[in-house]
């Protein structure tokens, strides 16, 4: 009853444009109690009414898309190595161009469930040794020719085999080959069963290119590539023959502004309508600007410290425990990430991974006494950690740890190195180093990539046989309860045994103009998992 009364007090439609903008801003920022209060104060309505406004606003934002307009997007990095060949995509700007130009077989929804894209269905056989993909008919390439199974089989097989340069080759190791079984049907022949296969078919690098090509900007996607200058920009215009709804804008331009301050300035002054990677120091500036919104998507973007188990001091379990207990996790989330993040529990899985996250596992807390005890037991009184700004907040996180170590008489030296060349020269080489990983779409791929025994990127060199067994078994398990138990056991193993310290996860923080509607929130990458080109429209 109270609800009804307050609802009649003020409706979303009656708001002035600036108040509507405020509502839109709150809806996107994931509104907190404090922000509802703010709205209530600004519009002069009661708290309950303010909450209603937000829900109405949410509905208005999800309204029917309009066609037209254009958008400029600035990523944080680009260079002469910008690619149009999907198998070599490694950066946000490549992923975005890929999303605009090409299609994958499968697309990730906001909750990470696999959705049909160029594949209309994907079914395993009884023992999951084969997967059958039915492909969409009536899809045309930008050059007018017809899409068929030949293109899909060719594109997917480029990731497999001895001589491939595909960056996801090792992620797709469970697949033996792709085979054409009809003009619009293909099969994936498996080396080992994998219930997550459809999800893997939606990775950034699995875009489908024309048979015999390396992409070259000819795709089946929502936008046609007009021009492409590596390290400068690309221009895309709407594909009027696109095979489904979407592609609402007339044109998009994709570029990068490497300087973080300049990037934020370009957003606020209106030169760019979308920018990636807002630095925590600039949150307030973006939030207080009238024309733009800070888009903060919870994700499992880990801020990690690797203690290599195959060398000193990481081989000593007490040393690792000391490093884990000295992390002031709450302070890191609050101060370093300015609240746009979540607590880490020394495993790479966060609640953003959905049901596979083990919330039963007790949160490890900041405990200087325990840290002191373990450091003492380990016999070490100092260590050197290699730090590069691999993602925003990592350096400040290490400085926080250094200060807290000093208080308990442990000397944590920080060796600052540049990100340039970091992955080849420092990561997986120096005994203590920092790491970040893009969030993987499934808990299994996330755990397998970092903790699979003997894996290429097992970056703490922690090899646990039970872990390997569980990684395999969980892929074949179909009972949700048993599956969850397995994932919990794996996270507990990593939490207790590995050399990984993960004090916090960062949200994905981007900025967009207020009139951009229909933003996806896929947590796998910047700007809605780079899925925005197909969905956004201008109000």
């Amino acid at each position: 009853m109270k609800d009804d009364k307050s609802k009649s007090e003020l409706n979303y439609q009656d708001l002035t444009q600036s108040d509507k903008d405020l509502v839109a801003k709150l809806v996107r920022g994931g509104f907190s109690r404090r922000e509802v209060l703010k709205l209530s104060m600004v519009t002069g309505v009661s708290l309950v009414a303010a909450e209603h406004l937000l829900f109405d606003g949410k509905a208005a934002i999800a309204a029917t898309p309009k066609k037209g307009g254009s958008v400029r997007m600035a990523s944080n990095l680009h260079g002469p190595d910008d690619q149009l060949d999907p198998i070599l995509f490694t950066s946000t700007i490549d992923y975005t161009r890929g999303r605009a130009t090409y299609n994958s077989l499968v697309q990730h929804a906001n909750d990470l469930t696999p959705q049909p894209e160029l594949a209309t269905s994907f079914e395993p056989n009884a023992n999951a040794t084969e997967w059958t993909f039915k492909l969409r008919e009536g899809v045309t390439w930008h050059d007018g020719s017809k899409f068929s199974a030949d293109d899909a089989v060719y594109s997917m097989n480029r990731h497999l085999g001895e001589n491939t340069t595909s960056v996801i080759n090792s992620v797709l190791k469970s697949i033996k080959e792709f085979k054409k079984t009809g003009p619009y049907e293909m099969k994936a022949i498996m080396n080992s069963p994998n219930s997550d296969l459809p999800t893997l078919m939606g990775l950034f690098q699995t875009k489908i290119v024309k048979e015999g090509s390396t992409g070259g900007g000819i795709g089946t996607g929502p936008y046609v590539l007009d021009s492409f200058q590596p390290g400068v920009k690309s221009v895309h215009s709407r594909n009027n023959n696109y095979w489904r709804e979407g592609a609402n804008l007339d044109a998009i331009e994709i570029t990068a502004i490497t300087d973080p301050v300049a990037r934020v300035n370009a957003l606020i002054s209106g030169d760019m309508q979308m920018v990636t990677q807002i630095d925590p120091n600039a949150f307030r500036q973006v939030e207080s600007a009238d024309n733009v919104t800070l888009l903060s998507t919870p994700a499992a973007l880990q801020l990690g410290i690797c203690c290599l188990k195959n060398s000193e001091p990481g081989s000593n379990d007490d040393f690792v425990k000391g490093m884990q207990y000295i992390q002031d996790r709450k302070r890191i989330v609050k101060r370093v990430l300015k609240g746009k993040g979540s607590l880490g529990n020394d495993t790479p899985i966060s609640f953003a991974h959905g049901p596979d996250f083990c919330k039963e596992l007790p949160q490890r807390e900041f405990d200087p006494d325990k840290a002191k005890f373990h450091f003492k037991k380990s016999g070490y009184s100092s260590a050197e950690l290699f730090v590069a700004p691999v993602t925003s907040g990592v350096e400040d996180m290490c400085l926080t740890a250094q200060a807290n170590c000093a208080k308990i008489g442990f000397d944590l030296k920080l060796k600052k190195v540049p990100t340039d060349g970091y992955w080849g020269a420092v990561w997986m080489k120096e005994p203590l180093n920092v790491v970040t990983w893009n969030m993987r779409p499934t808990a299994n791929s996330q755990l397998a990539i970092q903790f699979g025994p003997g894996g290429n990127w097992n970056d703490t060199f922690w090899n646990n046989d039970r872990m390997g067994e569980l990684l395999r078994l969980s892929l074949a398990e179909t009972d949700p309860a048993k599956r969850h138990d397995m994932y919990c056991e794996m996270q507990t193993l990593v939490h207790n045994g590995s050399g990984m310290v993960i004090p916090a996860f960062s949200n994905i923080n981007d900025g967009i103009a207020n009139n951009i509607m229909g933003m996806p929130t896929v947590p796998l990458g910047q700007l809605g998992g780079n899925e925005w080109p197909e969905f956004i429209w201008l109000a």
Binding site: P80, V232, T255, N265, D271, W457
Partner: protein
């Protein structure tokens, strides 16, 4: 005599280019990681690394790669970017034009202003205006360009909304739109290079003003303005030309900070990107262009100072 000197200079310049190419080659080889490792980044595996290295010809020894490159360079083939697969000439082409355009506009604005202000300050030493110019230029020389750029963006773009904060060009703009897009980097660079040229002009002329023949002219009662323009300026022009040449070379090769802040696609940023991706052919090509620019501009400055000095023009 003149021709011989110019030929000699060109020869030295050529040798400099070769030495630079060797140094750049060695320097990029010493850096950790090669292009295959950088391209594959965190997701590199031994197998994909080997496959990509073979594809790019990186499995050949360094000196072989160097001479292959040198040979191609001589025939005008700059090669293919190891990182992205585009031809180097296509990567450099547009950016060289952008860099030259920016350098040209900055020179057109800053050289007349600098010489005029420098002369003016020299004509009225010790006056209020001279002090303002001296103080202003000294302060601006001391302030790093990224600071000038950031303050300019904050005031002119973010607060006043007069100018765009980035030099983003669509390629279809009119001259006025182009000027507006380039205004911010132009303002920054004009401030940075003018300060130095103004000081050099003023100092050069005041230096000449203390020589005996100027004293003679003063005693004869020649007006100060005439002394400076007729007698002093041409004798001071040698060092002024030199400082202008150095500033022009800087505008072509050294403006990476301004290019980064304004996201202006110029050559200097391309070279840094090349280093970061260990894209050797690209780094080499940029280094050659920069080195060539220095050689040519300094050659012009030398010839200019000789022409302006009768003692050098007609040696005994």
């Amino acid at each position: 005599m003149m021709t011989r000197m110019v030929m000699q200079r060109i020869g030295i310049g050529f040798a400099t280019l070769i030495v630079v190419s060797i140094i750049v080659f060695i320097a990029t080889s010493i850096l950790p990681g090669d292009v295959a490792q950088i391209v594959l980044g965190q997701s590199a595996t031994p197998e994909t690394l080997a496959a990509l290295r073979a594809q790019l010809g990186l499995d050949q020894p360094g000196y072989v790669r160097y001479f292959l490159w040198l040979g191609n360079m001589m025939t005008g083939d700059l090669g293919i970017s190891k990182a992205g697969g585009a031809t180097i000439s296509s990567l450099i082409g547009g950016r060289l034009g952008n860099t030259m355009m920016m350098a040209g506009f900055v020179a057109l604005i800053s050289i007349p202003i600098s010489i005029a202000l420098g002369l003016w300050a020299a004509m009225h030493p010790g006056t209020m205006l001279d002090r303002i110019v001296t103080f202003g230029t000294l302060s601006l020389i001391s302030v790093p360009e990224f600071f000038i750029a950031t303050v300019a963006v904050l005031i002119l773009a973010v607060n006043l909304h007069w100018l765009p904060s980035t030099a983003y060009m669509t390629g279809e703009e009119t001259f006025v739109e182009l000027m507006k897009a380039l205004a911010m980097p132009l303002i920054t660079l004009v401030i940075v290079v003018s300060a130095q040229m103004i000081r050099m002009t003023r100092a050069g002329i005041l230096n000449v003003m203390s020589s005996p023949y100027i004293e003679m002219a003063i005693l004869k009662g020649v007006p100060r303005g005439r002394i400076i323009l007729r007698h002093a300026f041409f004798n001071a022009i040698g060092p002024i030309i030199n400082v202008i040449a150095l500033n022009l070379a800087y505008l072509v090769s050294g403006v990476v900070i301004v290019e980064t802040i304004f996201a202006y696609p110029g050559l200097a940023k391309l070279m840094i990107d090349g280093v970061q991706t260990r894209d050797l052919p690209l780094v080499q090509a940029c280094a050659m262009i920069f080195c060539g620019t220095y050689v040519v501009l300094i050659l012009i400055a030398d010839v200019g100072s000789i022409l302006s000095n009768p003692r050098l023009r007609n040696p005994k």
